[in-house]
């Protein structure tokens, strides 16, 4: 008989979930549910349950869409953001939240990520970033650190990794942030801000995969991997109070970039208005 939160926002018939012991994905999925719950209970947010759509692609992380009891669509590998773009365009009132993985959104779906960011279409993308392809058994992904091992990098990975949050902000995302599993409360607050943000928002949430990435790279068990997060991933206030040399090998948990670029569906509403004006001017001639 798990918590009210689980009863309220998850499809309890399908739990416990299929992720491995110690997988960070369950924590991130809960963060999303808590963030939504808190927004629903905050009248000023204007968020209500029936307006939330969860979109996912393929991979371990993408199973989250099925577990969360909202309008949910588990799409094809890499295409979650493109499906989400259609949903948001069709009904801009909806809060469209994409749950995706590092491979799903930065390898096979990398093109859709950068273009949705460029358009500043009002989606919220939560990347469950565990540095590995877990579902297929531990192949290296675009975020696997250089030199690390994977089943397809038995001698060490020669690729250089993406920093997904920086990739998104480089592509024009008006909100780009980083979260992790250890700092759950901070990550929940970041996800809430991302959902409320009008334009394109991305939260690169560092997950942990003890089963494949951890074991292959001697990173220890789930507890050890979270200890690493505790020591190396630093929430905003503390991060900015650190000296530069202290920060050198640390990463910020918080918002990396933020701006007020116009949101795409609002801009398109102006296109509709302009086209109707010119229709009137031309005396109804449509072409």
């Amino acid at each position: 008989m798990p918590s009210d939160l689980v009863h309220l926002y998850m499809r309890i018939d399908h739990l416990p979930q299929m992720w491995c012991p110690g997988c960070g994905n369950g924590v991130i999925m809960r963060d999303v549910a808590v963030a939504i719950d808190e927004l629903i209970h905050d009248e000023e947010s204007g968020v209500n349950r029936e307006d939330i759509v969860i979109v996912s692609g393929i991979g371990c992380s993408s199973r989250a869409a099925g577990y969360l009891d909202f309008n949910s669509i588990h799409t094809t590998h890499g295409r979650a953001i493109a499906f989400a773009s259609g949903i948001k365009m069709a009904n801009p009132r909806l809060h469209v939240i994409v749950l995706t993985g590092d491979g799903d959104c930065s390898a096979i779906g990398g093109n859709h990520l950068i273009h949705a960011a460029r358009r500043n279409l009002g989606l919220t993308v939560i990347a469950f970033n565990n540095d590995i392809y877990g579902m297929t058994g531990g192949q290296y992904s675009p975020t696997t650190p250089n030199g690390d091992k994977a089943t397809t990098a038995p001698y060490g990975n020669v690729d250089r990794p993406f920093d997904i949050a920086r990739l998104a902000s480089g592509a024009g995302a008006s909100f780009s942030a980083r979260g992790d599993v250890y700092h759950a409360r901070e990550t929940i607050d970041i996800i809430k801000q991302a959902i409320l943000h009008k334009g394109f928002s991305l939260v690169d949430v560092y997950s942990i995969c003890p089963t494949y990435y951890g074991r292959k790279n001697k990173k220890g068990d789930a507890v050890e991997m979270l200890r690493w997060q505790k020591e190396n991933l630093i929430p905003t206030a503390r991060y900015y109070n650190m000296r530069e040399d202290e920060r050198a090998d640390k990463k910020l948990i918080g918002i990396l970039s933020y701006n007020d670029y116009p949101e795409y569906t609002e801009e398109y509403a102006k296109v509709i208005a302009r086209s109707r004006e010119s229709l009137k001017k031309n005396g109804g001639a449509k072409t």
Binding site: M1, P2, S3, D4, L5, V6, M10, L15, P16, Q17, W19, C20, P21, G22, C23, G24, N25, G26, V27, R30, V181, Y182, A184, R185, P210, D221, A222, V223, L226, R227
Partner: protein, 66 residues
């Protein structure tokens, strides 16, 4: 119990990863035979960190008011 809150566990949902026990600030929890158990209920301050970091929703706080 602490105040009006109480810690609950569903062993059927627990996969024994040990995250809750490792990061409990009061060492209330321990994993025994791959399941989390409450070792020292009197020390629990119901901070909720275990619930927040449990990937499997096997441990949670309930409000005893109702």
């Amino acid at each position: 119990m602490y105040g009006r809150k109480k810690l609950m566990i569903d062993p059927a949902w627990c996969k024994g990863c040990g995250i809750c026990a490792a990061f409990c600030p009061r060492q209330v929890l321990a994993v025994v035979n791959e399941k989390v158990t409450i070792q020292d209920p009197d020390s629990c301050v119901c901070c909720g960190l275990c619930e927040m970091r449990c990937p499997d929703y096997a441990i949670w706080l309930v409000n005893m008011e109702e």
